[in-house]
Symmetry: C2
Subunit: 356 residues, 2 copies
């Protein structure tokens, strides 16, 4: 860390580490946090001096806007370590830009780029032991912003808190997932906030997802709210369909999150000589392809899950099982991505961001 | 309070009151809170013993689900005092049922009816001095539920906090409002959570509303997300249109909040012999009625604002000024409602709920 950064961030180190209490072979996603967290408050019209402090509970007024009006956005990113102990982020500029896009839509002030990167870097140095080397291990980073101003009028807050908390992770979904295609519920509206990582988008999916889970499906593939004819994305993953040897994924729009993994898969497909179409896909088309055998794979793509194969989908009472293709695209993209992320292969697009 | 209730709620009284510091003639909405708050935690699969304690900040983990996934719902209700010092709530059963409907949609466990009412009653007795008599004064009550479990996996939490905080209020909008009719942004999707008082629905409106405000309009009237042809509701009010002597309001559906004030106005219209149609209304129809002079009034109806006349609306660059009708319906409903709420007139539907 340069002296300059050190001056910019006020750092209070944890006196002891919790790391020895953590079983890194048995991690449940997002339950264990590292020794430090990054905190930066917005007040009097500007972001105040950023701080790193021991991970701890915080004090907040019951009237804070976030509790009442969901004025909150977040990001999800991962830090990886190679066998030499070098630490990398994957395309962090994308997450930086996206959190500010999300913030703008939620009337939250944008966060400065230098604070974002210096905060991440300082945290990753302090909590470096928490990043385990090896493909499959990572440190999940959760930047988020909440409206803290204690006043329950329904208007944008004047005070916010930006934080980064870190949680050691294994891949999110280990098993192939069975998914249900949405026919009644929806995730977002045209002209709404679906493209933003706005907190409320996620809580709104819990109930429909719990209904799907009761029917034996772990996830929902959302369709457009107006017609339910078009396939959009899953709760925390963008979705790819492989018909014969062609890959198809929906274009992003104001309902769909512009996923970093999605755009990386699209680029890797080009690199690997796989034809990838970005276009609207109907439920009808996928059901027909499943019937005539041309639907070879469906997989989700997202930071938490990396690449998650779909083994079955349900729509209007019809269930289609998808037999894993040998030499699956899912497996190919997953290993290609993980190899880049873990510094095991060439990084021709400059996606790795080393923490020095 | 019965001994039974007293046993059920653990009460810790504030040692001093802040009331003498409050200027009741100069209240900004939702900034000042009374001496006490109600708190009830959900854990181990059930709601724990409810508590009333001095109003204070709380301690919460940065990984609490509410911050990340907006798993949060709320209600808005008011307590009124008559000149004899009797305290009333207005149709509180409606708010109780609605918060549980909102909770169900957000995968939050429902709150027990006896805790809800006993909590309100105990609070209103302890903070009774904060309810000022006289039409226009009230104590705004904000029940809300937040997901507190410290784990950032995207699934329903296992721990929640239900709270009630109270803030002395004057009417929310004093001036007639100028509104913009939504053409691009939307508030909610079919199959979404618009009918719920889910926190995220509100934060999502702040940015489009701030754009409207820059153009000189305080509020947005939302239209359906698919076509933007149908008028739905405003940010915190349902909307009524008066064409000649007929009142029209949109039917509720899964995008629109089923407002208590709205349903009370519909009933009062019947009582007063005013024809009120509940049906879909197009933007086109309202613009034509504005042009030919048959549009006499537009007003919003909601707990915070009571009845709020609309003095102008904009759509597709056309601005229509609405000259206040003398003998306006807005004024008639407002005084009729306030008289019932403040125990100044007969309560033939049993809407008043006295706190004894
Ligand atoms: C709704 C949604 N879609 C897709 C994704 C995948 O995006 P990314 O690849 O940037 O993690 C995520 C997770 O971030 C998400 O929340
Ligand atoms: C979106 C929305 N519409 C309408 C209303 C009016 O409902 P009520 O009359 O129950 O306060 C509110 C406020 O509660 C609201 O938040």
């Amino acid at each position: 860390m340069s002296t300059d950064t050190a001056n910019r961030i006020h750092i209070e180190k944890a006196t002891t580490s919790k790391i020895s209490q953590v079983d890194f072979n048995n991690l449940m996603f997002g339950r264990v946090f590292t020794d430090h967290m990054f905190v930066c408050d917005f007040k009097d019209g500007k972001w105040q001096k950023p701080q790193i402090m021991p991970y701890q509970a915080m004090t907040i007024e019951p009237s804070a806007r976030v509790f009442h009006y969901g004025q909150a956005v977040f990001e999800g990113m991962k830090a990886y370590k190679d066998e030499d102990g070098k630490t990398f982020l994957f395309r962090p500029q994308q997450n930086f830009e996206r959190i500010n896009k999300s913030s703008a839509r939620m009337a939250i002030p944008e966060f400065p780029q230098n604070y974002f990167f210096e905060g991440l870097e300082a945290l990753l140095k302090l909590d470096n032991e928490w990043i385990k080397p090896g493909v499959g291990s990572s440190l999940y980073l959760r930047p988020f912003v909440i409206a803290t101003e204690p006043a329950i009028s329904a208007s944008p807050a004047n005070e916010y808190r930006f934080m980064i908390i870190c949680s050691p992770a294994k891949a999110y979904y280990n098993e192939p997932v069975r998914v249900l295609i949405a026919e009644k519920y929806s995730r977002s509206a045209d002209g709404g906030v679906g493209f933003a990582k706005a907190a409320g988008n996620y809580g709104a999916q819990f109930f429909p997802t719990s209904l799907a889970q009761k029917k034996g499906f772990q996830q929902i593939i959302w369709t457009d709210a107006s017609t339910h004819d078009y396939l959009e994305e899953a709760g925390t993953m963008n979705i790819f369909f492989r018909i014969n040897d062609k890959l198809i994924t929906a274009p992003t729009n104001d309902r769909i999150l512009d996923g970093v993994t999605r755009k990386s898969v699209i680029q890797l497909a080009e690199d690997l000589g796989i034809d990838c179409e970005v276009r609207q896909i109907t439920v009808k088309e996928i059901k027909e392809a499943a019937k005539d055998g041309s639907l070879k794979e469906i997989f989700g793509a997202g930071t938490a899950a990396v690449i998650s194969p779909v083994s079955a989908f349900e729509h209007a009472g019809d269930v289609f099982e998808i037999t894993a293709a040998d030499k699956s695209y899912a497996q190919l993209f997953k290993s290609t991505l993980l190899n880049i992320q873990h510094n095991l292969s060439e990084d021709k697009h400059g996606w790795r961001h080393e923490i020095k």
